[in-house]
Symmetry: D2
Subunit: 366 residues, 4 copies
Amino acid sequence: MSFNTFGRVFRFTTWGESHGPALGATVDGCPPGIELDEAFIQQFLDRRKPGTSRFTTQRKEPDQVRILSGVFEGRTTGTPIQLMIENTDQRSKDYGDIAQAYRPGHADIAYQLKYGIRDYRGGGRSSARETAARVAAGGVAQAVLRDLLPDLQIIGYMVQMGTLHLDRSRFDAGQIGQNPFFLPDAAAVPEWESYLDGIRKAQNSVGAAIEVLVRHCPPGLGAPIYAKLDTDLAAAMMSINAVKGVEIGEGMGAAALTGTENADEIRMGNDGPRFLSNHAGGILGGISTGQDIVVRFSVKPTSSILTPRQTINSKGDEIDLITKGRHDPCVGIRAVPIAEAMAACVILDHLMLDRAQTGGNRGEIG
Amino acid sequence: MSFNTFGRVFRFTTWGESHGPALGATVDGCPPGIELDEAFIQQFLDRRKPGTSRFTTQRKEPDQVRILSGVFEGRTTGTPIQLMIENTDQRSKDYGDIAQAYRPGHADIAYQLKYGIRDYRGGGRSSARETAARVAAGGVAQAVLRDLLPDLQIIGYMVQMGTLHLDRSRFDAGQIGQNPFFLPDAAAVPEWESYLDGIRKAQNSVGAAIEVLVRHCPPGLGAPIYAKLDTDLAAAMMSINAVKGVEIGEGMGAAALTGTENADEIRMGNDGPRFLSNHAGGILGGISTGQDIVVRFSVKPTSSILTPRQTINSKGDEIDLITKGRHDPCVGIRAVPIAEAMAACVILDHLMLDRAQTGGNRGEIG
Amino acid sequence: MSFNTFGRVFRFTTWGESHGPALGATVDGCPPGIELDEAFIQQFLDRRKPGTSRFTTQRKEPDQVRILSGVFEGRTTGTPIQLMIENTDQRSKDYGDIAQAYRPGHADIAYQLKYGIRDYRGGGRSSARETAARVAAGGVAQAVLRDLLPDLQIIGYMVQMGTLHLDRSRFDAGQIGQNPFFLPDAAAVPEWESYLDGIRKAQNSVGAAIEVLVRHCPPGLGAPIYAKLDTDLAAAMMSINAVKGVEIGEGMGAAALTGTENADEIRMGNDGPRFLSNHAGGILGGISTGQDIVVRFSVKPTSSILTPRQTINSKGDEIDLITKGRHDPCVGIRAVPIAEAMAACVILDHLMLDRAQTGGNRGEIG
Amino acid sequence: MSFNTFGRVFRFTTWGESHGPALGATVDGCPPGIELDEAFIQQFLDRRKPGTSRFTTQRKEPDQVRILSGVFEGRTTGTPIQLMIENTDQRSKDYGDIAQAYRPGHADIAYQLKYGIRDYRGGGRSSARETAARVAAGGVAQAVLRDLLPDLQIIGYMVQMGTLHLDRSRFDAGQIGQNPFFLPDAAAVPEWESYLDGIRKAQNSVGAAIEVLVRHCPPGLGAPIYAKLDTDLAAAMMSINAVKGVEIGEGMGAAALTGTENADEIRMGNDGPRFLSNHAGGILGGISTGQDIVVRFSVKPTSSILTPRQTINSKGDEIDLITKGRHDPCVGIRAVPIAEAMAACVILDHLMLDRAQTGGNRGEIG
């Protein structure tokens, strides 16, 4: 995990800018013999794709993935898999205003300070368009996991948008794919629509919180001390554009708990230990326990907004800036499939790392 | 960052168990020619040391560090620095009860499932005693930073313990070292003492939240996309025992903000860009901006408590468990110097990584 | 350096198969602000390109490189550089015979045993076509080195082909680019041509030895113990297809020397230490000394030959195999630009790694 | 593999200087549940130990290893294993002469140029004493291999010392441990003794070549392109002090072969492919084939000799230098157990890496 590479054994490197000819991911270390084709990966990209509702950017990108290597006659060969997505709807002229000015809250100024040069068109490398590449890489991970852990489920959904919160008592996983918010509560959709319409009309944007649930994850994944499963999940989520906080299980709320409250008591189930609660979010000592893994993170509001903000330009002049162009009023929405992709990659990487060290053998209890 | 190694260029590997003969850190990649001796490192260890107040474990460990390599005539040579701390106050008999039973909320069961074997004495490798080694490694990082970035300040403090919160309007950094809670508010100390005494007497424990502030960090540190500065800080903090959430700047609160609120507007200062607010916590696009870096994390309550909890033993029997031994009623307190150490290591690693890529040159604005 | 990635700080990952749609390299960690365009990289590819003389494979590949990311307005931005080369002259039918049979001396059987699946067309991933991608990556390294170390020269040439050896007393670097053998001796070219024509007509192939000379390399590059400069150069060369031996300076011949013979005595020159000989090949203790770096390696003969050899097929039948198709009679020839590319990448990686650790400062003598 | 760490999954970091208080290795990623104690590791150290014959340095070091972590009740726990060896026979005064002077052919000057500071006592970090630490790490690898690959044999021996060469027709593995030269030919021992006595009396030293044979290595180990098994073996051997060349199978001699000669023809044996020759040295395309792996390397003569050589000192004065102290007349002798240790670590690392990617499954032939 350095520069643009994520992962230790199952590793991918993303490349490409928002308005360059193409972007993609180089996936290395993939197990051989796994069924994989472009259609399988495409379904994940289609969930992240812009322009699917009025609540995402109106940029129209088909995000069609091509597999350029590493797959032969429908199966992975164990060699690097190159996934390429061509950019087709770049409108660089939209970005004239920000070529020489720094959007408040955006990476523009940081890239300028660090590198002394940046591709300003559409945010260049700092654009959330990079996440298409990781969703494609996540598709490869999902194909491998389907083979190695057929029961595993990775489910992402929104739990907060601005002042609106998911009512967990009405959680229905089946609803997640049925609305533009990846919301597991059908009844709340109209309120969320109306709220975000208001934000959009006010030429503003809003933050969000997303949760990813990993069901049927085997115990034993995680390599303490510095490659704990929760450490890697935190890094994975924090690497997503605009993320400002990550929580496992109780998360920040753990600070308010006592030891008696926080203890996930254990009984003996039919096929191993059974926990009576899940404050831990499925991870103890950096290692999965077999419980559901629960990861949550916040996404800050889009910094490209139509409301003028004070800033400076490259000459150091103080100016007011309005960011035109096509932007998501709540960039958090599209973070859902991205987070699922990152979770898939982390789980697979640790499955393989554990296979290296322990051979996949598990300690016996009882 | 794999298994027990943290860092890319400035990297350390910790080793050792709670009740083994010794533990330590192997620090590699350290710049040569830096003044370093055991006394300098010891001051950081002394802040983390157990047994300094009635609010930490009563285990008496001098935590005396020895430098076994990599330093010659008072200066680093650029070769690996071995830091060893001998364990002196192991009382293994205290741990008879947990040899064959799994504390709810503790890593005991996860290690057993993964490895099929564990050193149960004092939690073995999963004990927070490991953190002494990283505090020692952090001391080396601090020595290098003192030389390379003399203005840099890394300041950790508690912001929450159970239901008590720091009143930020009374923040006084000078008070942090003056009380057993690393609390930047002298007036609140009696209330915190009384609260924690209550927890302790109730044979319970409690969670906490800690904040680390990095002042005068230069802009340009961070290597997007997968080695962002905030990604690495999140991984660093999440790797600390019992941490369940990490936030940068606004953190989870960013989900509730609008774009106009969240934008840190920019004006031109005497020596570069000047931000009018710091929702970002000093990091944009994964790169430091020169603003104060703000990292916050939660620590769950100690899982070793004297109140009985339901659990199972290695035979799979369902039992009730009381954890005797010497435990911290609020393990979050001692996380303060640990978090500072981790922050120092991350900052130094990125300073060196940036030096590799950009030569330390900064882009000009204005 | 794992799987398909080479390098620590300046790192590239190659991807692609001999008969897939394309192949390429993902270059990461490149310094920003470096002038770079496709024409600059192309010149290196053109030297490696097949079909330029009757002594290389007759496959006609233009090996036209496209830069898909990481370069903006003619300069690198510090983000990943994707280099893609489309395959245009695949003739998969040529390879029908080897789809189910294993060429003796070739990787066919090893890939089959390891992965249980392989893209047999043209050798798939094990084809020397992969080296086009590293030559492209080397072009990026050359662009950076031109900027950071303008005096550095990396010069590869053949020193042996079968029974023919370079007469070092007639070494003339200016001749290297003037003949199909990268031979620094114009007078010997006719003999080499005639020899290789004989090999080719005999439906055979032959081995070779190549030397790379790095002139004006600064002292101080190399990170002992396990990232010594010579260690990395050895790994770089050994990773090239068909390489069976690597030597630094005296190489295997050092076994026959005495200490008095081998000592490169030192005098004081105008601008630092001056060595009276160079048995060391420019590297002591894994660190460059400022002397010329000398690396040499052998390349085994092409295993695809028209003379029948005994082997087995995928059913385990014992067969005789003739390998048709278009093959190099001496694959070592085209290893010259590949080795230069690898040397450039190693030197740059170590320059950057050294910059990270020492800031590029050098110890003073005298 | 960076700085002082070797390996990807099974990885060790060595630390310590020749005349510091101790040196050692931090071994990480070791599989759990493996039988291991100090006596097992000690047997490997005893083979490398100085002072065992008149042909090695007279420094008396017991090289007693202590396991400080990672082993519990006689078995590895999967956590880092710290191996420490205390230095006991440092005679720093011996090294007064070289404190400010640079031995020709030695790393002294390179360390000075790179780091600007060095522990000159006994060569500090560049001393071959570091290799004790890797032999200890190799002992851990051997313990794991004994468990996972009980048939595997790793056998090192000398094949050349100065002008003397092993007569391969008299190879007898049983003799290797019976003489001070690790020579597989009892009859040649007197001649080797007499030759090296001559070198020693002439106040000189001499080079050597060592071969390592790995028998019963399973096929499928090696992760092309940049983590080929032969690439890693080359890096492993080249990282040993004073090594100047590495060969696999035919090695440099492959340059002289034709394709018909070099083809290792294949027949079908009872339990898989059977090769009629082994020019490849057991590795094709970077992957083991199941044949014996053959690695060979040269070691230059000790540069610390009693015969005066021209050099400079730290002031830049030109001087003549005699190196007193206790030095090996042929440092290559003790490279034998070091090379075996490195081979064990490489094989285990690749066994684990392959287990990660393929699950250890092998492709079927026949």
